[in-house]
Symmetry: D2
Subunit: 290 residues, 4 copies
């Protein structure tokens, strides 16, 4: 889309499907002199659910930005059943925390995108249970927070991490091959706000050692999965996946080497979709508007 | 979609983009008590063009099927600029002619789909410049028309072919590896109604011998392209493509063998999209609503 | 490969890896004046196992076809540890039985390939637990054997099926969406000679209803898997897989529709690889020489 | 491959095909007590050419490293016709120069891989016709050489660049979206040692603006191509390609955004293959042993 220099608002919503929702939403925008630059909608017939993302120019729009939510709730959202909605503005930069451990390929990739301004995002902190990437993160002038799980209880560390994320008004936590399992308590604080990269094409090979298990099973495709983290490990809503063909010629080392590239691209695709408010989640599935 | 047992109408339209078109179209349907089962729209920002496909249940709809077009023209289409639209009904089976020469893989595949009822289509005739598949087509009780280009002028043969297609009210002509170039006169009679399969990923390797040329160039991917036929050879609007990785291990024979499978699937995807009225064409590009 | 008009022999072998095997095998062929037209080898470092497929022109070869096996065993195979080997000749057409139930897309595809002579194979019979495709198979003049599982015990039917396959010297049994589970007894008679198509990218979604389960899980890729049948359901060595991207836009019906095409192509790829002796199996994994 | 901690030698060779080459090469290694850890060979039947890559452990090998080439030439290479060969050792780190202009995504990706030690390589310099990435390159303590094409003649600048590359014993020059065309003189100094990334799936959309041209043509797949640079622009031997599906939903901006990821991965795959001596080039085609 080539309108990124404009000031725009985005509303994402989903609710039980019924007649006339698109009509109502677009009327709401048009009546108030909004110019729609992108509109996507989807009806999941199987679950009778309606999904929509609409983005419009706010210049000249008849409702002030800080009142749009209130008006939308009154005039639209509450008329439909089980409506979930969010309004955001492209001049508000989402704030992203990155959690990492020993493997750096996703971290390097994320930092590169942030540094070149590819994404509309700020990264106020990186958190790690190891010091491996302290120097790297320092190069990009991003504060690096190290926690030693051998010296402190996980519960206490998680409390500090939650505090840090709240202090920095974090909108999105990215687990860039972070090798610690987050507790249900932590996860519950950031529903649909934690994205993890798992190094297999879920639901194949959940848990530990997916590359080794894929190698041993002799599959002809391997992949990676980015998903929101829920308290069920590797069971959260899938945002993005990708796969590549492999053969007997590929050793376990080859799988790991090639897997790193899939991991970082899949994770980046998911983060991009989230940051641009293109991911809607319901009943453990996502609608991702490209 | 699981509503195929319903009676539905489909309107496809495209026009210059302006505010409120979706709203107007959905109002038109809702006001007349139509139940929308599928709606897709797209705005091409670069060319300021709006595309839409909407399908709704006709049971209980307030306008008779044979009047829908008239009302849509009056109430909607003529209010917008450069509007192209079509209305169709899923109980009308499109009628498809297949043209074939020496290679049978696409023909076999199409006949299989027709025979199993996978598609909403009738095939009243197959035309060929060779007798290779006369017996095969006979097995499926479809009339086979053979034309000998050595005995008659191409112009005369094409006149007969046009007459045949008109007599049989043909809606779609599929060139299933048909090895004769159709004249501009023939093509002009069936604009956006002739689908060809070209055995390369266009615009790479247009013209004759694409597999050989791909082999000689040493590319690492090969593919196939289904497109509407225009008077510019291999330049018509692309409907579907697919590709597969290849390597030095693949001989020219391997390319041809694997290419046959891509060709038939890509052609089938394009034919399916056309038959279900999911392809909109403008300015040599297609919008294909999945 | 463009040498298919030649008379060739193929030896496939695998054994514990040690120095000099390739050298020994190629010497065996060269010394006896064989012209190698294709040679592939692979060492699985993880399991220290050597795999090889070599194909050579038999014209002028110093050992008669019916003695090649004996000489190979004496001079080569028995010098290495745990050697498995097979010799075959391209003038021997493998004989293939097809088993089918209610879904015909794979059957149509296989029959088309057989009818056009795409493969070096004979199909002396089709077996089914339903009569759906009796007429179709009849069109291709292939005997159709129907078994009614409501009227006879499965055990008795399987005995008859085994007898049929033995009488017809069947080399390969293809389960073209055959919806009956074969007993361990049946399977044991045809080790690495039964190929099944499973409609998911195994190990994801084994068992019944893979499309529905994929739809419910919200995966972004779907696929199909062709594998040798073992007594562990959906756990046999994988020969071929393929996948395609899907999104929230695809209904369960769409998954089934698109899945049919992946299924038939993946199954065909596996059958082709088997028929051309390109599949070597060891420890529940395959080496597939393209 | 999991033997990377070993000291190994690699010989790559290609020559006119004839009987017994594999045998001769493996005998050469085995006789001198070498342990082969990887062997790949390929015969291009169409051009009657034999390609081979063999890697073996040098510990205990009967010929000193600095004599292997001489012995190989005498005992093997000169017995065959039109033989090209190279010997290298994994303890010799190839030295790579990176050339870049305004777009940084490939540079960031390369630097990340170098910094994490993913590749067996040293990068003694980065050259650019812009200052955009001077600070970035500095972070990784790599000398950055800026040339101002407005102030100096291209010929003079190229002379300096050649001198720099020679001074630093550069084995590989990577054009990471370098936006200057190298002169035939420059190219001739580094035959099969300059890798370029072109942002289309060649031969589709050569030259300038491939994304725009792909967008305008309405193709359903887009891609990137890494190739050796020859004096014919975009015509050199292709090393690696990749493609992704696109649709009408993707704007030109989307193509560029997604293209960046394909570009950097394809370029990295080509560089990896080159650095690990897996690319053999003959007659404008490559054999890439995975």
């Amino acid at each position: 889309m080539s309108y990124h220099e404009l000031d725009t608002a985005v509303i994402t919503m989903h609710c039980e499907d019924e007649k006339g929702i698109i009509s109502a939403v677009t009327d709401f925008i048009l009546t108030n002199n909004g110019n729609i630059v992108e509109l996507d909608q989807h009806v999941d017939v199987a679950s009778n659910r309606f999904y929509m993302r609409v983005e419009w120019e706010t210049k000249g729009f008849g409702i002030n930005n800080d009142k749009i939510g209130e008006y939308f709730e009154t005039l639209i959202a509450k008329k439909y059943k089980d409506t979930h909605w969010e309004v955001s503005f492209n001049h508000q930069k989402p704030r992203m925390a990155i959690l990492v451990s020993h493997y750096g390929h996703c971290l390097y990739d994320l930092l590169g995108r942030v540094d070149t301004g590819e994404w509309n995002v700020e990264v106020p902190l990186v958190i790690s249970n190891h010091r491996d990437f302290e120097a790297l993160v320092g190069k990009y002038n991003i504060p690096f927070h190290y926690f030693d799980f051998k010296k402190k209880a996980k519960e206490d560390i998680e409390s500090e991490m939650i505090q840090l994320c709240e202090d920095h008004k974090i909108d999105l936590i990215v687990l860039a091959r972070y090798m610690q399992i987050l507790s249900p308590n932590f996860v519950s604080k950031f529903e649909n706000k934690i994205i993890n990269i798992h190094h297999s094409s879920l639901p194949a090979f959940p848990g530990a050692n997916p590359y080794k298990n894929a190698f041993n099973r002799g599959v002809k495709f391997m992949g990676a999965t980015a998903h929101y983290v829920t308290s069920d490990l590797d069971e959260g809503p899938i945002i993005a996946q990708d796969v590549i063909p492999i053969s007997h010629r590929h050793s376990l080392e080859d799988l790991k080497r090639r897997g790193r590239d899939i991991e970082k691209i899949v994770l980046a695709n998911a983060v991009y979709a989230h940051l641009s408010r293109r991911v809607l989640t319901f009943a453990n599935k996502t609608v991702v508007f490209e």
